[in-house]
């Protein structure tokens, strides 16, 4: 355990503390300031984690002083720090958007505090080193997201929110059962210890069954095809600032859990789960892209693109080679940042045209800079050359071809096809919203400059993906190497000495 172990707790406790502070009634500038400070501080701690884990250190802090396999540990390796930073960036931009776009009714009911609790839950899911604690983190995150999903009680929110809640509660019940089964078979819930025990046990059908159960749960949370029906309805119903964070990060929590469980923990059972992931990913990419092409509203189109991007991530994970995992880790960054940027752009566009529909025409005259941002994001999400999206998708396609099984090649075909359809969907938005002559009778509203700034900042980060593609992929390379060889993770969490489970007390000592 190093001196920096407290850093693994800081990104969780900071938003939690600020969220509690925000419950205290105070004037709006104070609350907004607190919310921004909370998100910024979380980002600072996450960046600290990123630096601390850059050389492959695994930071571990044991809660309550109980050593690793017996108590709950918070763990940060390269992957956890990486996704924690991405989530914190998206969180800061979402809070910025909420600050720039006052929503008095929802803020009276603690919109800002609930967002902080959501951030805490997300960071906790990324940094936990324990399967059951992952369930608890999911619940912390999901309860905040349920509240945010129905906060405001518009008809659309209630209808979609109810479906979202029921779906996720059913998945959570399944996760509890999977935790129980994992404990029953392997006698532990700590990720590192689970990895050790399942490696000792060798290939085992019960462990594979637990893996498939976990796969179903995480696929439901990550909106993979057959289980992702709730997403395209729920996300457009949310207020824009909240929708940004939901779209960019919440599905990625499921993907992160998949990455963690099927690379670090259950490495021996890869065959079945990888095939399933490959299958789900292949279908999800196409389903998302086709859905995006079929919609007419800004955020409905973008929600389907979120589904599609999860498909790419699952595909990379399903291919399973080192190169593919590396491409997935790289694409993770692309997906989070570009989704944040596109939702920020959509928020400005919806406000400026006063309509959710894309078909307005001629907004290029009024929002030239926003149009530029949109074009950049559209190229990134479709994966065309001058963007970071191209680098990531190229790596995915190459990894799929290199693996060469029939399913992987089908996946590559699906990836290319869905990129093409995504490009078509994006061009449809461009033609519908920005291109052409603005109809004289349609109004154009003024949008607060700070909302514009949120969209520009997010787009600048997307542009940064291109500029810093080298360092990002170097990091992804190191992360993938670490994920493929989990010995370092296990040693970082459990230490060098073998774990000794003490014999159960007989009761005589207790009597004395």
């Amino acid at each position: 355990m190093s001196d920096l172990a407290w850093l693994t707790l800081a990104p969780i406790l900071t938003p939690l503390g600020f969220g509690l502070g925000l419950l205290w009634p105070s004037p709006r500038p104070v609350r907004v300031g607190l919310a921004l400070a909370g998100a910024a501080l979380t980002l600072a701690f996450s960046l600290g984690l990123l630096v601390a884990t850059a050389d492959g250190t695994v930071l571990t802090s044991a809660l309550g002083g109980w050593r690793a396999p017996f108590g709950i540990v918070m763990t940060a390796d390269r992957l956890a720090a990486w996704v924690s930073v991405l989530a914190a960036v998206s969180a800061l931009l979402a809070v910025w958007q909420a600050a720039a776009d006052p929503d008095p009714a929802r803020e009276r009911h603690h919109l800002l505090a609930l967002m902080q609790f959501l951030f805490a839950g997300v960071q906790m899911s990324f940094l936990t080193g324990d399967l059951f604690n992952l369930f608890v983190a999911f619940e912390v995150m999901l309860v905040a997201s349920y509240a945010l999903a129905v906060l405001g009680s518009t008809r659309e929110q209630l209808r979609e929110g109810f479906r979202y809640i029921v779906m996720n509660l059913a998945a959570s019940a399944l996760l509890v059962v999977a935790c129980g089964l994992a404990y029953g078979v392997l006698g532990t819930l700590n990720f590192a210890h689970l990895a050790q025990r399942s490696a000792q046990l060798g290939p085992n059908t019960t462990v594979t069954a637990v893996g498939v159960l976990l796969l179903i749960v995480f696929a439901a949370k990550g909106a993979l095809f057959p289980l992702g029906f709730w997403l395209p309805g729920t996300y457009p119903a949310l207020p824009p600032a909240v929708g940004t964070f939901f779209a960019a990060v919440l599905t990625k929590v499921g993907v992160y859990a998949l990455l963690r469980v099927f690379t670090t923990v259950f490495t021996g059972e890869a065959g079945v789960t990888n095939t399933l992931l490959l299958l789900f990913g292949t279908v999800t990419m196409l389903y998302g892209a086709l859905g995006a092409a079929s919609q007419r509203e800004w955020r409905r189109i973008l929600s389907f693109l979120v589904v599609s991007s999860v498909g790419y991530l699952a595909f990379g994970l399903g291919v399973g080679t080192g190169e593919a995992v590396r491409a997935s880790v790289g694409y993770f960054a692309v997906s989070v940042l570009v989704t944040t940027a596109l939702f920020a752009v959509a928020a400005v566009a919806e406000r400026a045209s006063g309509s959710r529909l894309v078909r307005v025409r001629g907004m290029l005259d009024f929002l030239p800079l926003l149009a530029g941002c949109f074009l950049l994001c559209a190229l990134t999400v479709a994966g065309l050359p001058p963007s970071g999206g191209f680098v990531a998708k190229y790596a995915l396609v190459r990894a799929g071809l290199a693996q060469g099984s029939l399913l992987a090649v089908l996946g590559v075909v699906s990836a290319l096809l869905s990129s093409l359809i995504t490009l078509y969907a994006m061009l449809k938005v461009w033609r519908g919203f920005f291109w052409g002559q603005h109809p004289a009778w349609l109004p154009v509203y003024r949008v607060s400059p700070s909302l514009h700034v949120a969209a520009y900042t997010a787009s600048a980060l997307v542009a940064g993906l291109t500029v810093f593609a080298g360092p990002i992929f170097a990091r992804a390379d190191a992360t993938a190497a670490e994920l493929r060889d989990n010995a370092r993770y296990i040693r970082g969490v459990l230490g060098d000495a073998p774990v000794v489970i003490p014999a159960p007390p007989t009761g005589e000592e207790a009597e004395k």
Partner: protein, 151 residues
């Protein structure tokens, strides 16, 4: 003993799934509770059932594994909280839709807020899709009537 528990868990989860497929909102909520409790019993069973072993160290051993019981306790608390939240949402939906029926709830809610029945889900919290009446939005570009002549 394990067989009995397995049958009981199957019964609970089967009932839960049956209720979940119902059209009545309250039954959906009840169904989720049944599934949750089936899951809790599954943890207890998987970790091993003992008839004579207490989980407390102050009693005479041998002891049953206390960890699954801690897990179930956590799961019960979380399930309790989420059920309460879901019931609140269901109540709000009932107030809006006027039926405790998922189908009617879907249809009624899908209707436009400016529909002829004039029902607004919650007049106090209107969505951001409608302009805030207190703060009229500024026009950059003046609206002209479609058939109007040049100014």
């Amino acid at each position: 003993m394990e067989t009995l528990f397995a049958l009981l868990i199957g019964l609970l989860i089967g009932t839960g799934v049956f209720l979940l497929l119902s059209r009545v909102i309250v039954r959906v909520v009840l169904g989720l509770s049944f599934i949750t409790y089936g899951g809790n019993l599954a943890i207890l069973t998987v970790a091993g059932l003992r008839e004579d072993a207490p989980p407390l160290l102050t009693l005479r051993g041998p002891y049953v594994d206390p960890l699954p019981q801690a897990l179930i306790l956590t799961a019960i608390v979380i399930g309790f909280a989420t059920t309460a939240l879901l019931l609140t949402v269901a109540l709000r939906a009932y107030q809006v839709a006027g039926h405790d029926d998922v189908e009617a709830f879907g249809d009624n809610l899908a209707r436009d807020p400016e529909a002829e029945d004039g029902l607004i889900a919650d007049p106090e919290h209107q969505g951001p899709d409608r302009p805030d009446p207190e703060e009229p939005r500024t026009l950059v570009y003046s609206a002209r009537s479609p058939g109007g002549g040049e100014p």
